[in-house]
C-alpha cells in the first residue's frame, strides 16, 4: 500500500513540478527525495517507487505525445541519437533514463530519512 501511495505521489509531484517551464528538468529529483523522506520504506522499495513513478510518468507522456504526432519527430530524433530511427527504442531510453534517476533520487531520500 505504502509503495502505491509513494508511486502515485512521486509521479504527481514530478508532473506538477514539470508544468513550470522555468524550473529545471530534473526538479523531480527533489520531489522524489521529499516523497521518499516523507513515506518511509525500505531502501529497495523506495528505489522501486521512484523508478516506477518517473518511468511510468515519462513513458506515458512520451507515448501520448508520440501517438498524437504519428511518430514524425521521434523517428527523426531516433536517427540523430542514434537509435536506428526506432521510436520504440527512443521511448524506452527516455523511460529508463527518467526511471533510473527517479529511483536514485528516492533511494537517496530513503537513506537520508534513515540517517536522521
Amino acid at each position: 500500500m505504502k509503495i502505491l501511495i509513494s508511486i502515485i505521489l512521486s509521479a504527481l509531484l514530478a508532473y506538477a513540478a514539470g508544468i513550470y517551464g522555468n524550473l529545471p528538468w530534473w526538479s523531480f529529483v527533489i520531489t522524489n527525495l521529499i516523497v521518499a523522506m516523507a513515506i518511509p520504506q525500505k531502501a529497495f522499495y523506495s528505489f522501486l517507487s521512484g523508478f516506477v513513478a518517473i518511468g511510468l510518468l515519462w513513458c506515458g507522456l512520451a507515448i501520448l505525445l508520440d501517438q498524437g504526432n504519428d511518430h514524425i519527430l521521434s523517428m527523426k530524433v531516433a536517427t540523430i541519437l542514434p537509435l536506428k530511427g526506432s521510436y520504440i527504442a527512443l521511448i524506452a531510453v527516455t523511460t529508463f533514463m527518467g526511471a533510473l534517476l527517479g529511483g536514485l533520487a528516492s533511494l537517496t531520500g530513503s537513506f537520508a530519512r534513515a540517517t536522521k
Binding site: 514539470g18 507522456l61 512520451a62 521521434s74 531510453v93 533514463m97 534517476l101 537513506f111
Partner: protein, 824 residues
C-alpha cells in the same frame, strides 16, 4: 550505519543529474543535454506537434492600435486582416516568430558572424569571413540611415520587431523550437538591426560570389597570362538573347568611364600578383543563384489579361527561406512570399498588379590592393601620400573559449578583408580591401513596402527606384494591361574588365567613376513582342554603354529557352504557364549534342562507348526524372571540356576557375581548328576537336559504366536533389527527390539549388494565382506542415492561392483556424 549508502547514492544521483545536464561531445558536434532533451515535459517531445493541432488562439497585445483577425487556411497560410498598417506588420512579426523563430535567429547569426557563440570554435572561419567582409558594418550603415531619414520605415520595422518580441516574451521555455533544444541555447530579442543583417545576407548571397570569383579570376589570369585568359574567358557570347531585345537603342550615357592609361601593363597584363585563395571561407554563393521571371501581355493570353510568372532560384533549405502570407489593411491587400526576418511581401501581387524578381548578376563587388606603411595598419599609401585608416573592432564570442577580436583597417575603399592576420600562405602578405555597394546605406525594405501598395506602372517605377543592392530585374504586370521589366540597383559605371580582377588601390585611377543613374538602367515596357522576361542573362547586348561584368556571372541558355517558348506561345492560360515554369527542355544540349556529333569519330570508339553515344543520340532532350540520356550527355560534355582545356589549366598549385561551357560550344560551332583544342602536353602532335571529342567520349564511358553498375544512370538518381536543413543534418532534410531539370533548364533544379518559390499570377478581375515553395509553413521538424509542399513541388504541381476579402475568406471551405489579436 546508513551514512555511507546515503553519501554513495547522493553522489550517484547528483553525478547522473550533472552528466545528463551537460552537453557531451559526440564526434564533431555536441550532443544536446540528454536529460533535458529527452524529458517529456521540457525537451523535444514537446515539439512533437499534434497531427490535428487546433491553431485557434486569442492573443492580447499592448502594442496594437486595434484588433486584428488572422484566418489560417488548410496549408497553414495566414491571411491577416488589420485596420492599421503597423498592426499588420506586428502580426506578421508574431507569426514569423511563431512558425520560424529558430531559422530567423540562425540566419542572422550567420550573417553577423555569431555562430561560434553558440556552436564553438569550429565555426570561427565562417564568423571571421562575414565580420571581415563588413556584413555588420553594412547593416549598421542602413540602420543609421533609416533611423535618421525614414520615419515610415523605422515605424514599420519597429512594429515588426515588437511582434516578434511579443511572441518570444510569451514563449514558455518548454515550447522553444526544436533546434534551440538540440543545440542548447535560447533565442534573444529581435531588433531592426537583425532585419538589416538578414537583408545583408541576401546581398551577399546574390552579389557576394565576387568575393571568391574575383580571386579565382585573378589567379587564373596570372596562371595563363592575359592573352590566353581572354580567349578562354571571353565576354563575347554569340548566342546571347538579352533581357532587353537586341537592337534596342540606348540613351547617350551620362558617365563615360575612362580606362586608366596604365591598365594594360599594371592591371590586365600584370602577372606578378600572387592572389589570395584557399582562405577558409564559407561556401561561396551558388553560381546558379538566379531565377526566371516573365510577364505576357493580354495580346498573348486567352483571357486578354496579362499573366506574370516568377521563380527565384536559390539554395534549397528547410525551413524554407520563404513564408507565404496575405496582408490586408485599408491601404492595400497583398499576397505572396515573405522572408521570415523582414516585414512585407517580397515577391507577390496585390489587387492591382503583380511583381517578381530575378538576380541581375551585375558586378558590384571589387578588391583593391592596399599598401600599409607598417604592420600597425594605421596608414596606407593613397594618391601619393600616407593616409590614416580607422579601425573597426569586431569581437567574436566563442562558446567554451576566449573571444576572438578582428581589428579591421577601414580604408577609403572599404574594410580590409585580407591582410597579414587573415590569409593563406600563398597570399604573400597582400592586403585587399573590399568595395561593395552593399556597404552603402540602403532603404531596400521600402521598395517592398511600396510594391505591396503599388497601384500602377508609375508606383512600381517609384518603388523600385529606391532599390540599391542586390541588383534585380523587377518584372511587372498590371490589371490594366501593362507589362514591364527593369534592371534596378546601384550599378557601377565600369570600363571593360574593370573589377574582374584585383585592382591596384594605391591611387584613385582604378576607383569607381560613378553610379549609373536610375533612368539609364535597362528597362522595357509593353514591347511589341508581347512579353518581357529575364533569366539572369546579360541585360543588354554590347551596345549598352556600360560594362556589365565578367560573362561567367551570366548564364545564357535559360533565357534563350524562355524567350523561344514565349515567342511561339499564344492564347496562353495559367495552366500553360505551369507547364512552362516546370519545363525540362535542354536548349544547351540541343546545340551541343549535334556539335559534338559532328566531330565524333564513331569508328574509333569502343563498343561500350558506342552504346553510350547511342543512349545520348536517342535522348529526347528533356531533363526528365527517368531520363538516362541527359546523364550520359552531361558526363560526355564535361569530359570533352576537360579534354579541351584540362591541359591549359593543368599544373596550377592554386585552384583556378573553369571556362564557361558557352565558350567551347561557340568555338565548336565556328572554328573547327581552334588552337585551344590542341593538347599542349603532346609535343609531336596537334590535336583538334575531332580528337578531343572522341577522347572525351571514351573517357566519359569509364565513368558512365560505373554509374550504370551502381544503377545511377537515371537523371534523378544521379542528380539526387536534396533540400537540406540549415544545420545540414540529413534526417531533418529531404533527400533524393524525384525531380528533373537542372542547369540551363527552365526548371532549374540542381542538386541542392533551384526554384525556391514558384508563382503564377493571372491578372483577371478576381486574381487567379498559383504557386508554392519546396518546404512548408512550419519550421518545426516535428510538424506535419514542416515539409508539406515538397512532394507537390517535386511533381511540378501547384496550389491555387486563396486571395480573398475577409468575409469571403472566413466562409471559404479551406479556411480552418482563427487567430484573434486584441489590443489590450
Amino acid at each position: 550505519m546508513r551514512l555511507l549508502p546515503l553519501i554513495a547514492s547522493a553522489i550517484l544521483t547528483t553525478g547522473l543529474v550533472f552528466t545528463l545536464d551537460t552537453q557531451l561531445k559526440i564526434g564533431n558536434s555536441k550532443a544536446p543535454r540528454l536529460g533535458y532533451f529527452l524529458s517529456p515535459q521540457h525537451g523535444f517531445w514537446k515539439n512533437a506537434e499534434k497531427i490535428n493541432t487546433n491553431f485557434d488562439a486569442t492573443i492580447i497585445a499592448n502594442e496594437l492600435k486595434g484588433n486584428v483577425d488572422v484566418y489560417v487556411d488548410d496549408r497553414l497560410v495566414p491571411h491577416i486582416y488589420a485596420d492599421h498598417d503597423a498592426d499588420a506588420y506586428f502580426v506578421q512579426g508574431y507569426l514569423h516568430a511563431k512558425f520560424r523563430l529558430w531559422q530567423m535567429d540562425f540566419e542572422t547569426r550567420v550573417a553577423s558572424g555569431r555562430l561560434s557563440e553558440i556552436a564553438g570554435a569550429d565555426k570561427l572561419p565562417i564568423d571571421r569571413f562575414f565580420r571581415r567582409l563588413g556584413m555588420v558594418y553594412g547593416a549598421e550603415q542602413t540602420e543609421a540611415n533609416i533611423n535618421a531619414t525614414n520615419p515610415l520605415m523605422k515605424a514599420t520595422l519597429d512594429a515588426y520587431t515588437a511582434g516578434v518580441n511579443a511572441y518570444i516574451k510569451q514563449l514558455d521555455p518548454t515550447d522553444l523550437p526544436f533546434e534551440f533544444k538540440l543545440m542548447n541555447y535560447v533565442p534573444e530579442d529581435w531588433t531592426p538591426k537583425k532585419t538589416y543583417l538578414f537583408l545583408m545576407f541576401m546581398s551577399y548571397d546574390l552579389t557576394g560570389r565576387s568575393a571568391n570569383a574575383d580571386l579565382q579570376l585573378t589567379n587564373t589570369r596570372d596562371f595563363l597570362g592575359y592573352d590566353l585568359f581572354d580567349k578562354l574567358y571571353t565576354n563575347k557570347q554569340d548566342s546571347l538573347d538579352p533581357i532587353i531585345p537586341k537592337g534596342t537603342d540606348f540613351a547617350k550615357p551620362s558617365i563615360i568611364p575612362k580606362k586608366p592609361s596604365n591598365s594594360d601593363s599594371s592591371y590586365l597584363h600584370t602577372t606578378n600578383a600572387l592572389a589570395i585563395n584557399n582562405v577558409a571561407m564559407p561556401e561561396a554563393p551558388d553560381k546558379n543563384n538566379g531565377s526566371n521571371n516573365w510577364a505576357v501581355s493580354g495580346s498573348k493570353t486567352k483571357s486578354g489579361r496579362p499573366i506574370l510568372c516568377s521563380d527565384p532560384h536559390l539554395g534549397l533549405n528547410l525551413p524554407s527561406l520563404w513564408y507565404e502570407i496575405q496582408i490586408t489593411t485599408p491601404t492595400h491587400s497583398t499576397y505572396g512570399a515573405s522572408f521570415p526576418g523582414s516585414p512585407a511581401v517580397i515577391i507577390g501581387f496585390n489587387d492591382s498588379l503583380a511583381w517578381g524578381v530575378t538576380n541581375a548578376g551585375r558586378d558590384v563587388f571589387d578588391y583593391y590592393e592596399i599598401k600599409f606603411k607598417d604592420s600597425t595598419q594605421n596608414e596606407y599609401w593613397y594618391n601619393g601620400a600616407w593616409k590614416s585608416t580607422t579601425k573597426r573592432k569586431e569581437i567574436i564570442k566563442v562558446k567554451d573559449s576566449t573571444d576572438v577580436i578582428e581589428d579591421i583597417a577601414m580604408t577609403n575603399w572599404g574594410p580590409t578583408m585580407f591582410d597579414a592576420h587573415y590569409q593563406n600562405p600563398q597570399s604573400n602578405g597582400r592586403n585587399l580591401a573590399v568595395q561593395w555597394t552593399a556597404h552603402s546605406t540602403s532603404t531596400g525594405v521600402e521598395t517592398f513596402y511600396q510594391l505591396n501598395r503599388a497601384k500602377n506602372y508609375e508606383d512600381y517605377l517609384h518603388a523600385i527606384s529606391l532599390w540599391t543592392c542586390p541588383g534585380q530585374n523587377f518584372v511587372l504586370a498590371t490589371k490594366t494591361g501593362d507589362i514591364a521589366i527593369k534592371q534596378q540597383g546601384r550599378f557601377v559605371a565600369r570600363w571593360e574588365r574593370q573589377g574582374d580582377f584585383i585592382m591596384p588601390g594605391e591611387d584613385s585611377s582604378y576607383a569607381w567613376q560613378g553610379i549609373i543613374p536610375n533612368d539609364e538602367n535597362p528597362m522595357i515596357k509593353n514591347p511589341a513582342r508581347g512579353f518581357v522576361s529575364s533569366a539572369n542573362q546579360p541585360a543588354t547586348d554590347p551596345t549598352y554603354p556600360y560594362y556589365l561584368g565578367a560573362a561567367s556571372a551570366f548564364p545564357l541558355y535559360r533565357g534563350i529557352s524562355v524567350n523561344k517558348h514565349l515567342t511561339s506561345m499564344n492564347q496562353i492560360t495559367a495552366q500553360d504557364m505551369q507547364a512552362l515554369q516546370t519545363d525540362n527542355y535542354n536548349v544547351f544540349a540541343a546545340t551541343a549534342r549535334p556539335a559534338m556529333m559532328r566531330y565524333l569519330q564513331l569508328d574509333k570508339l569502343s563498343n561500350d562507348a558506342k552504346r553510350m553515344v547511342n543512349e545520348m543520340t536517342n535522348w529526347d532532350l528533356n531533363n526528365s526524372v527517368n531520363s538516362k540520356g541527359i546523364t550520359v550527355f552531361k558526363i560526355i560534355w564535361d569530359s570533352v571540356e576537360q579534354a579541351v582545356w584540362g591541359d591549359e589549366l593543368a599544373g596550377s598549385t592554386i585552384p583556378l576557375t573553369k571556362p564557361e561551357a558557352f565558350v567551347l560550344l561557340d568555338q565548336m560551332n565556328k572554328d573547327s581548328n581552334w588552337v585551344i583544342a590542341d593538347d599542349i602536353r603532346t609535343k609531336d602532335k596537334i590535336e583538334n576537336f575531332k580528337d578531343q571529342v572522341t577522347l572525351g567520349v571514351e573517357n566519359a564511358t569509364k565513368k558512365l559504366s560505373e554509374l550504370e553498375k551502381e544503377n545511377k544512370l537515371e537523371w534523378s538518381l544521379f542528380k539526387a536533389t536534396r533540400i537540406l536543413h540549415l544545420t545540414k543534418m540529413p534526417v531533418l532534410s529531404r533527400l533524393n527527390l524525384p525531380i528533373g531539370g537542372g542547369v540551363n533548364i527552365i526548371n532549374a533544379t540542381t542538386e541542392n539549388h533551384g526554384p525556391s518559390w514558384r508563382m503564377i499570377v493571372h491578372l483577371t478581375d478576381e486574381i487567379e494565382a498559383y504557386g508554392l515553395y519546396p518546404g512548408g509553413q512550419s519550421g518545426n521538424p516535428g510538424s506535419p506542415y514542416y515539409d508539406s509542399f515538397v512532394n507537390t513541388w517535386a511533381a511540378g504541381q501547384y496550389y491555387r492561392f486563396l486571395f480573398l476579402g475577409k468575409e469571403k475568406l472566413k466562409q471559404n471551405a479551406r479556411t480552418k483556424w482563427h487567430l484573434q489579436f486584441k489590443a489590450a
